[in-house]
């Protein structure tokens, strides 16, 4: 158990696991590419990406050619259009065994958060989940920093002997840094899936748009809204504020909104000029979807996480404030 399954050296590649999103690349993957570019910095390591997809389109190709990665390996198989963990794992594991990366970075989508620990278990290595920072130490080990215990502490974690060193990264990036003309090699292969699936999978709804919203004002409501009929109050308010009405995950789980309206890691990213968050606690997952803009928050709990992050944190009842707003705007 103490000898690495996949050997590592100072110049073994850094691999970024990439996920498609419709015709684009998932913002969580773009964030992982940006992090990897910073990490590769002046090391001699090759920086490559791997994408598993049912169909590889020109849109994805155009984004990836300019990604700054040395090479992107694309594996295509119609079975990969659904997420059956074992099929993705089979394709990824075969590639990792051949490519022998020293570091693998994943975004923090549910799919990646399933695949990373499954891959790690097959390779008898570890994963540091939801890292906010990764950097090489002087001894060449990857220092992986993640928040723990509700964000009250940060833990620094290393993977001393097992390889590869694997981390999932929190955060969504709106775009990739400009890297000049197309430079990444794109290598497209058909993916071999030897074990036929015993599972039957189908999508009920599918997020296909690049998860970004550039409305100038956004009104986000969350778990503080008590009844479904109250959503109408906030819909009216959004109209008056010339804002798009969006929500936190809590309201999608209650079935009041679809995920197209959800801000956060499992929803969409927003780049608004101003975001008004009413009754939203402001979890790390939610905040990952807030890419820019001034934040006003209204929350009964003056200690809610969103109150620390807001430019204008207002401690108060969202219904009373909504009512006052509807009378004055």
């Amino acid at each position: 158990m103490c000898s690495p399954v996949v050997p590592d050296s100072a110049d073994s590649p850094i691999l970024v696991f990439l996920e498609p999103l419709g015709q684009d690349i998932h913002p969580a993957s773009r964030n992982a590419i940006n992090t990897a570019l910073g990490l590769a910095g002046d090391t001699k390591r090759e920086l490559c990406g791997v994408l598993l997809t049912a169909a590889f389109g020109a849109g994805q190709s155009a984004v990836l050619e300019r990604s700054g990665l040395t090479a992107v390996y694309v594996f295509v198989n119609s079975l990969l259009g659904n997420f059956v963990l074992e099929e993705h794992l089979e394709v990824l594991l075969a590639f990792v065994k051949e490519k022998k990366p020293g570091v693998i970075l994943f975004g923090a989508t549910p799919e990646s958060r399933a695949l990373a620990p499954a891959l790690a278990a097959r390779l008898k290595t570890g994963v540091t989940a939801d890292c906010t920072k990764v950097a090489f130490r002087e001894d060449g080990l990857l220092l992986q920093t993640r928040p723990a215990f509700g964000g009250d502490v940060t833990a620094e974690i290393i993977t001393p002997w097992a390889r590869p060193q694997i981390a999932t990264l929190r955060g969504l990036a709106p775009e990739l840094p400009r890297r000049g003309p197309a430079g990444s090699k794109i290598i497209v292969n058909s993916a071999k899936i030897v074990n036929p699936r015993a599972q039957k999978a189908e999508w009920l709804d599918r997020v296909t748009e690049a998860a970004e919203n550039a409305a100038s004002n956004v009104l986000a409501i969350g778990g503080g809204v008590r009844r479904q009929e109250d959503v109408e109050i906030f819909r009216r308010l959004a109209g008056r504020l010339k804002a798009e009405l969006m929500c936190s995950r809590a309201l999608v789980e209650r079935g009041w909104f679809t995920r197209q309206s959800q801000i956060g890691l499992s929803g969409r990213g927003v780049r608004a000029e101003a975001l008004l968050a009413m009754g939203v606690s402001g979890s790390v997952q939610f905040m990952a979807g807030v890419m820019s803009g001034r934040i006003c928050a209204v929350n009964l709990d003056k200690d809610a996480p969103i109150m620390l992050k807001a430019d204008v944190p207002i401690a108060g009842d969202l219904y009373a404030v909504a009512d006052a707003l509807l009378r004055c705007v």
Binding site: P110, G126, A274, M307, P313, V329
Partner: protein
């Protein structure tokens, strides 16, 4: 048909740190069953009822984790197993899943192993996936609803990043339940009485089919530093009456506001 559910004892509350010292609070009486596991136990019980199976609750932890197993038994689990030994301590996700997998193998063939999708203390959401691989069976994660259970297979909805997926899969499998999977089943009075007298089986390292290493020695990752975060508030909270709050918000959102009379 045998069904298992993995449960974990966690410190109660969202923020289980001593506000003055930053130390983890592990005092007696302040530990609870991981909130996600309540849904895993409930989903496992419903499944066991439909399949006329038995439910075994399994926990790896210190002796006081027995309390968490008794909570699962009070909810309706038929038997409980504590995987306990100082050799298991200091385990990361991989090593925890390794120990649980060996314990589950020791206990026999389970058709389904339920887990909570994540715990409130570790918060990685990785264990069910690592456990499934180390048991050599498929993992079905991010489950938000169980649509159908029949003797050989099950249909669930999974909440994934790229959409909601309906998955039908045969047994055996590890299922990771989210908090929307089902209504939690509260412990009954009868269940509590039964749980109080339940004999809990204990498995130590010597009882498992593999010599180890276990715990910290089997963990590929190491925590090298823990630092308390003092997150500075970007701005101090404003305590405004509703109309003043409304004017402030209107200004921030770039919308003109009528001046309200003092009565409002």
């Amino acid at each position: 048909m045998k069904i298992a559910v993995c449960v974990k004892q966690v410190p109660s509350g969202d923020r289980p740190l001593d506000p003055r010292t930053g130390a983890l609070i592990r005092a007696a009486g302040e530990n609870v069953i991981n909130p996600w596991d309540v849904y895993a136990v409930s989903a496992a019980l419903q499944t066991a009822r439909i399949l006329k199976g038995t439910l075994t609750a399994i926990s790896m932890g210190p002796p006081q984790a027995e309390e968490t197993l008794r909570t699962a038994a009070a909810m309706g689990a038929d038997s409980a197993v504590l995987v306990c030994g100082k050799e298991f301590g200091g385990a990361d996700v991989y090593a925890t899943a390794f120990t649980l997998a060996r314990a589950i193998e020791k206990l026999g063939e389970f058709a389904i192993v339920f887990c909570g999708q994540q715990s409130t203390d570790g918060d990685t959401a990785q264990l069910p996936f690592s456990l499934a691989v180390q048991l050599g069976i498929p993992a079905v994660g991010w489950v938000k609803r169980i649509e159908k259970v029949s003797p050989g297979e099950m249909t669930v909805l999974q909440e994934l990043g790229s959409g909601t997926q309906r998955l039908t899969f045969p047994f055996p499998a590890v299922i990771a339940a989210g908090m929307e999977t089902c209504q939690p089943i509260p412990p009954s009075l009868k269940g509590r009485l039964k749980a109080r007298g339940l004999a809990i089986q204990t498995l130590g390292p010597a009882d498992l089919p593999c010599k180890g290493p276990y715990g910290l020695n089997a963990s590929p990752t190491r925590v090298v530093k823990i630092e308390r975060v003092h997150e500075q508030a970007k701005s101090q909270p404003l305590f405004l009456d509703p109309s003043a709050a409304a004017r402030k918000i209107a200004e921030e959102m770039g919308v003109s506001a009528n001046v309200l009379t003092s009565s409002s």
